[in-house]
Subunit: 264 residues, 2 copies
DNA sequence: TTTTATTGTGTTAATTTGACACAAAAATAC
DNA sequence: GTATTTTTGTGTCAAATTAACACAATAAAA
């Protein structure tokens, strides 16, 4: 099908349901994953525009804010039981006036005569609540939504231009991640079930943005008593094979409840 | 003036301005102070009802969410330059359905025939964003708003019954206070300009909910290099007089930027 | 003058941290 | 098969931090 027609179809369909949604609130999800020793965020690219956005959505009148976030997450990643947490609400009265919106809206303006209600609705002031999710990148099959043509992981070190204040939203999510480090299920959410000590250390190094001494890190983590040691992993590399570890889930969650006395 | 008439007058006046406000968002302020070795929160008591609420308000269509919070704070306390921070957004779709609202609304229902728009507006679903403020209780002269007859400090250990989910909002604010302890200007905001080491320690004990060893606490704080020692305070008690201290503001803010490696 | 309560600082053992050492292991090169 | 390379798991040890208790100094009351 002609993608232009398809997009219009989706807009018309959404327009018909506008009554079901709160008119001034939205949610945006900062979905974080970890791959190739880098933190990554899941982004969407708008059709016809090349501008990137965070996966987001609107809130049904009978829906809890948290459920709207879960719904968006489920739609974009197919995952339903992952770690999601609200981190901040962005309440500037001129969020929608940011010059960066002009580009995608130029495109939407073509729809004006065909879908004036939608245009009016979407250009209103929105107060958006940010949620962040931590996911195992390997378990995800990202799917674009009706308004976007691409949905993929982008390294946090090389973000493309983002719509509106979405750059700020990501920055705030990362601040939150850092200050809440000791209270979040970082490792258990971002890594696959089994991993090496090096994987875990590199993850913390990526979040903290600084190197951690290998042998001391290992000792410290083992002492926390949340790791289960498994068979060795024969990597094929010319060196001693590392053990594989997994987390003891109960002990992990017990520990972060009161905060891991960890690095900062 | 008859308080009943007065209340009605205020409602009518607000009703005339409904167009200026966002219809689905509000803010609530958890204003915390410290007195008699106890953490306290500033609450309002609704006229004619005896039900307590957090100071809160609505958001003008051209107003930043943060500014709405500052406005409410200013109106209730007269203070304009205090520490305020957003901490969470409460997005349940049934917040307004909580049975505890019935009581004050029973009262408002008497206004139904006189102010149907106001009643309809206020009983809608609201997504409310919580802000917390840390203030020096001595500098405050609490003032009730038009809908309330009392505005006073209540000890967190003995809260009266609260409307809607306001108890939950306070609990969440305190959680936030605890986990963000190392990044917040606790002492400088909650204590008067000059204070004794015991004052400071008791404050931290109140927040952490556990005793801290006196001499070690003293040493640790002096070592941080953020305290300025002043003359001794002759308390009149039969014991050695303690020094008074104040904070070096620049050093204090510099320190919390990266987090005080403190207690938890 | 003695007593009482609290303060400021001292002491010391236990624990944690940071930096580096080194043998063991897995694969490759010869 | 043997030597080489690289990374792992654990060892060591000095420095820093923490936790617990000691004690003299001091302000006011008895």
């Amino acid at each position: 099908m002609d993608p232009e027609i398809d997009l219009l179809h989706h807009i018309k369909s959404f327009e018909a349901q506008l009554e079901d949604y709160l008119p001034g609130n939205s949610i945006d999800c900062v979905i974080l994953g970890y791959e190739s020793q880098q933190l990554k965020v899941l982004l969407l690219k708008w059709k016809n525009d090349g501008v990137w956005t965070l996966p987001g959505g609107f809130i049904k009148k009978t829906e809890h804010l948290d459920d709207a976030a879960q719904r968006v997450l489920q739609e974009r990643t197919g995952l339903s039981s992952v770690f999601v947490k609200q981190f901040y609400t962005f309440g500037s009265s001129v969020r929608n006036k940011n010059p960066q919106i002009s580009k995608p809206l130029y495109h939407l303006k073509k729809m004006e005569e065909l879908s004036p209600n939608f245009l009016k609705w979407i250009t209103n002031r929105f107060i958006t609540t940010g949620y962040f999710a931590l996911v195992d990148i390997k378990r995800i099959h990202p799917r674009p939504d009706a308004f976007s043509e691409v949905c993929e992981w982008k390294s946090l070190n090389a973000l493309p231009p983002l719509i509106l204040d979405h750059k700020e939203i990501i920055t705030k999510a990362l601040d939150h991640l850092k200050t809440q480090l000791n209270y979040l299920p970082i490792g258990i959410s971002l890594l696959p079930k089994k991993f090496t000590m090096q994987d875990l250390r590199k993850l913390y190094e990526a979040i903290l943005g600084k190197p951690l001494e290998r042998s001391n890190f290992q000792r410290k983590l083992l002492k926390l008593g949340i790791l289960i040691r498994h068979e060795k992993q024969m990597t094929g590399a010319a060196n001693k094979a590392p053990y594989l570890y997994s987390f003891s889930e109960e002990k992990y969650y017990e520990l972060i409840k009161n905060g891991i006395g960890f690095y900062s």
